[in-house]
Symmetry: C2
Subunit: 299 residues, 2 copies
């Protein structure tokens, strides 16, 4: 199956307890699409500025990512500057420059419209909705969101949720969206808003998946060093959706395996800054760590 | 196999976001032994004051717990008063009265000394050591500890660790003991101190088990309501050690299943104050939730 993803393509400045990088490739659609590309064809809808290097577009193309839908607009690319605490579950956004992203009006190329899966990374819910309207034949719609949209555009977000099969959020977003501290009750309330399933990303503590009466829990892969958590959630989603697309069906067993593949991909990206680990990742690495996940969890 | 456990038998005053109880049964040896009693014979070494109600001793006896080693000393029983935050991963100790526990010199009855398994709940490491010396034929020694002993009696604790097969600690204790923030590296450093394996209890995020090159991760059972986390770690240890004793061997597969049984028991005790949930728990309940753990984690 073919995937269309909409989201940001950005430059990041990141500081973690282990180092500091500037002007590195980032953005939700970038992390998502590169992770998904290990499993299935993926097409990106995004906008970059005229400062965006051809070499990075070439990198995406080299991963088989369809970049026809990446608009190059006059001006500068979206930039995010963040610093992680010693406890890397916490981070501060030091600077955010929307630049060309401020006027982003996603246009889905005609060649994308037969995609079976549509993933809406965290952008304004009305933009997510406009992309969905342009990929109207999608059999599976996934969406991500964040605190900013939950607080600022709740009505539009809730309206979108009615059209979404799987929502991915972190603990904090789940609690905020549901107005409920307990994560199980929060998940139930989110499901009542429309999504058929919700994936709650808990960083180093793994993922919970709620769907009907079924609950699935996967721990995160225990790593000796987490270098940079940036993009882990997007990479999780990319691996998850990619594995579903590769399987070509969405049975409960496939969904569970896809969640593990998402966790596998997320466990790699945090091992280095930006997408550096994914740039040198092989399919063999992915399969090896999947087997390590089996060994980690089986009893 | 028979288990000997040493630790506290206490009265707790507990306040959580869901309510408040006073003078309820608590203490590490109590929680441990009641949980273990669902699986195997367990004998307690502890001290209570003359104020300790016979009905609670009767309750332990009704669970098949051998209480010959519970000394009744003149004075008052150990009392702990604590309050949990809205985020129940956090709690404050409001009051601590050691009472008869201050002069506790554990005496292991002769009838206990053939126990195959010895579990040393969190008391002064020199007392843990003295109990171990009295159960010298034990094939498996488990120990728990806490921040207070790691900070105040590190040398004695490290000496004890050389004689311990399995250490149970929470995240914070693991980090403090190892002087290392990353939980995987912390576990490696703790193993280098002597224990053959270390179990890191992460509350609502489950458990990690490190043994040689093997890592095992179990999520906590996702609960709609956590009523009172008090004793969850001790109950986890009791269920884990109990299941090992019942199996009568310590193969890697048995250890993993025992960790799941520990998690099962912990998931019950937090559903009510004190040991209330365990008082009305049946073996069928335990087996049913074990199967739910399988369904929760299999892929």
């Amino acid at each position: 199956m073919k995937i269309v993803v909409v989201g940001s393509v950005a430059f990041d400045n990141v500081e973690t307890p282990f180092g500091k990088v500037e002007n590195v490739l980032g953005g939700s659609a970038t992390f998502f699409s590169v992770a998904a590309s290990f499993f299935a064809p993926v097409s990106v809808v995004a906008v970059v500025g005229s400062d965006f290097p051809k070499s990075e577009l070439e990198f995406l193309r080299s991963r088989g990512v369809d970049i026809e839908g990446i608009e190059i607009a006059p001006g500068r690319t979206f930039r995010w500057t963040g610093r992680y605490h010693e406890d890397m579950n916490l981070r501060d956004t030091l600077d955010l420059q929307l630049n060309v992203f401020a006027d982003f009006q996603p246009k889905v190329p005609a060649s994308y419209r037969d995609a079976e899966i549509c993933f809406l990374s965290t952008i304004h819910p009305s933009l997510q909705k406009s992309v969905l309207a342009q990929v109207s034949g999608a059999e599976l719609v996934g969406a991500d969101t964040m605190t900013h949209w939950i607080e600022g555009t709740r009505d539009e977000l809730v309206e979108l949720l009615g059209a979404v099969e799987v929502l991915t959020v972190n603990d904090e977003e789940a609690r905020l969206l549901a107005g409920e501290r307990n994560v199980v009750q929060a998940a139930r309330k989110i499901l009542a808003l429309g999504p058929k399933s919700v994936l709650i990303k808990r960083g180093e503590y793994g993922v919970l998946h709620f769907s009907g009466d079924s609950v699935f829990a996967v721990p995160a892969f225990p790593l000796e060093q987490v270098f940079d958590p940036t993009g882990a959630g997007d990479v999780f989603a990319g691996g998850f959706i990619g594995a579903l697309a590769k399987a070509g069906e969405f049975s409960a067993a496939t969904v569970r395996r896809a969640i593990v593949y998402g966790s596998v991909m997320a466990s790699f990206v945090v091992e280095d800054f930006s997408l550096n680990r994914l740039r040198r990742l092989t399919n063999d690495d992915v399969e090896r760590r999947y087997r390590q996940f089996v060994a980690l969890t089986e009893f």
